[in-house]
């Protein structure tokens, strides 16, 4: 436990000193400021008389229409949850992908490994420190948006906050992959590029059935199908975030999107990546 706390402190101090933490929260804050100033609500006697988002009249069904505040909040948050899914994931990977390559630098790794800690403990403590760093930003962004919306409308949607758990789950999986690449290559740039690449490739594979139908050879179709089941379901989990936040608006979507398969296969991928990273790290000679 002492190692875990020491490692967390180390990661946080590094993030603060290298401006990663400040940049991380600065960017998030800019997003929040833009968001807060973009919402203009006209509430008369407790009912919503009009609403503008980024200066545009909020419309439904083609023309200006009176909305309930609750519905408007749900609409806002559902839309923003998709943006936040990408924003939080991208920023988290950018802010944490260096954790292993920096650790493995000559002159640094010796200092850490000369302590009575197993390599697995060292790696997992940095992993949890990275996930905690990402979690703090997810909580900050989602919490602040909830507060801004609550302050402007008086409506709080708990599901919007809880959706942060799904976002964090995706971040944790991708960070395990970034750790694997970091252990093997000792390069922050390669870790970031490979992880972003994986994220986008996984997004494309949501259309795996159509791709399988389009390819000419059987083995290609099998490969696409296998890859689909192996790599994380970033598209499906993004849809799950949106569906979960907007569940009260479109309840029937929940059942079709929030299924266990994407979660289980993504978790298996993350665990597999971390296990592999740990195996390489154990065997690595410094």
């Amino acid at each position: 436990m002492k190692l875990m706390w020491a490692s967390m402190e180390d990661v946080w101090r590094e993030a603060a000193a290298r401006w990663t933490l400040i940049a991380y929260f600065f960017l998030s804050s800019i997003f929040l400021i833009i968001f807060a100033s973009a919402i203009n609500l006209d509430i008369v006697d407790g009912t919503l008389a009009g609403a503008k988002l980024f200066g545009q009249e909020v419309q439904m069904g083609g023309g200006p229409q009176e909305l309930s505040i609750e519905r408007l909040v749900l609409g806002f948050e559902t839309g923003f949850s998709a943006i936040l899914y990408f924003l939080c994931t991208f920023m988290a990977i950018f802010a944490t992908a260096h954790l292993v390559p920096r650790l493995q630098e000559k002159g640094t790794i010796d200092l850490y490994l000369s302590r009575p800690v197993s390599r697995f403990s060292l790696l997992i403590s940095r992993y949890f420190a990275g996930v905690l760093l990402a979690a703090s930003n997810v909580i900050y962004l989602l919490g602040a948006i909830s507060l801004i919306v609550g302050w402007k409308t008086g409506v709080m949607n708990v599901r919007f906050l809880l959706a942060g758990a799904i976002i964090l789950f995706v971040i944790a999986t991708l960070l395990a992959f970034a750790f694997l690449i970091g252990v093997v290559t000792s390069s922050t740039a390669v870790s970031i590029m490979a992880t972003y690449g994986l994220f986008f490739f996984a997004l494309m594979l949501v259309a795996h059935e159509r791709i399988e139908a389009a390819v000419s050879k059987e083995w290609q179709a099998t490969l696409i199908n296998t890859l689909y089941w192996i790599i994380p379901k970033t598209a499906e989990l993004g849809q799950a975030v949106v569906a979960y936040v907007g569940a009260e608006m479109v309840p029937e979507r929940i059942a079709s999107v929030l299924t266990p398969a994407p979660f289980l296969t993504t978790a298996a991928f993350g665990i597999g990546c971390f296990a592999l990273a740990s195996w390489f790290f154990q065997r690595k000679e410094f």
Binding site: A6, E9, A16, A17, L111, L113, P116
Partner: protein, 319 residues
């Protein structure tokens, strides 16, 4: 006494990525370091010094042989519980202050916060960094970083110290302070293994050395024994006239006059005493008599230049 560092038949072969080429970094070395001993590991570049230290720390695995620290195999992380290590060219994170560095690495060694606080203050003062405790390491000079690295290795009161070029970049006063610190640690029973190119530093600090060459222990032993030049003695006496020197030569001693003193080559201690008797019989006064020694550097250079390794020079390659 049970050695704290025990290396037996250690062999390390590095293979290229595809296994096509092999380099033997260590070729069956043996040595031990006991409690309270200051042991120097010497050798030219590529002799296997760093590999030995890395194996002792579990950073690299041995191909053959065994290495034990505090009685435990080096594969067991617990063997590093009481090990302090200062790597050459270490990179203490620049974003940490000296105190934070000691706190993080102290906790990683299982120390309690209160003990870290007490020990940090003590050590920072000891190496002259008392005023710099809350300054970020990136603002430190090379010598200061080196001192911090050293106390970082000492924070958890280890009983084994592995130091790679500990005085690198440190000024002469600082070097003496570090030497004193290491001697104090050794007097408390710490086994110190020093890996350095600064032979004069090793000579001033260590009790015993092992010289590695091409992955083998070329010679090992006490510095005093390694540097002793046979039966040669330096004598300063007065009067040291030609008649006296002729008398010395008559007894079979080789005599060479050098800058106000003479170098005597004798056939043992009895012969030497006979010469002293001759001096006194002639009314001479002896003011200095000491065995002539070469420097460790001379020994080192001779060994490195030797075409074949004379394994077992002093102690059959073991100590």
């Amino acid at each position: 006494m049970t050695p704290l560092i025990e290396v037996t038949g250690l062999r390390k072969v590095y293979r290229s990525a595809l296994g096509q080429s092999r380099v033997t970094a260590l070729d069956g070395i043996d040595f031990t370091v006991g409690p309270g001993e200051l042991f120097g590991l010497l050798g030219p570049n590529g002799a296997g010094k760093t590999t030995t230290v890395k194996i002792l720390l579990g950073l690299t695995r041995a191909t053959e042989g065994s290495a034990r620290v505090s009685g435990l195999p080096v594969s067991d992380p617990e063997s590093r519980r009481r090990v302090g290590y200062l790597p050459e060219g270490h990179r203490i994170p620049g974003y940490l202050t000296a105190r934070q560095t000691l706190s993080i690495f102290g906790r990683m060694s299982g120390m309690e916060t209160a003990d870290i606080r007490r020990r940090s203050a003590e050590l920072l003062e000891q190496v002259g960094l008392g005023q710099w405790g809350d300054m970020r390491v990136k603002k430190f000079s090379k010598g200061m970083t080196q001192r911090l690295g050293l106390i970082c290795a000492l924070i958890h009161s280890p009983n084994v110290l592995l130091l790679d070029e500990p005085t690198d970049g440190v000024d002469p006063v600082g070097r003496r302070e570090i030497r004193d610190l290491l001697r104090a640690e050794a007097s408390r029973g710490t086994a110190v293994l020093l890996n350095s190119h600064l032979l004069s530093e090793i000579e001033l600090t260590c009790d015993r050395v092992a010289v590695l060459r091409k992955g083998k222990v070329a010679v090992a032993g006490r510095i005093a024994d390694l540097t002793r030049k046979g039966e040669q003695y330096k004598m300063i006496a007065s009067p040291m006239d030609d008649a006296l020197l002729a008398a010395f030569r008559e007894s079979g001693a080789a005599v060479e006059r050098v800058n106000g003193h003479v170098i005597l080559s004798v056939d043992g201690v009895q012969h030497l005493n006979a010469l002293v008797d001759k001096l006194r019989a002639g009314g001479g006064m002896l003011s200095e008599l000491s065995p002539v020694r070469s420097t460790l550097e001379d020994v080192f250079v001779d060994l490195v230049r030797a075409s074949d390794v004379q394994v077992g020079g002093m102690e059959e390659g073991r100590s």
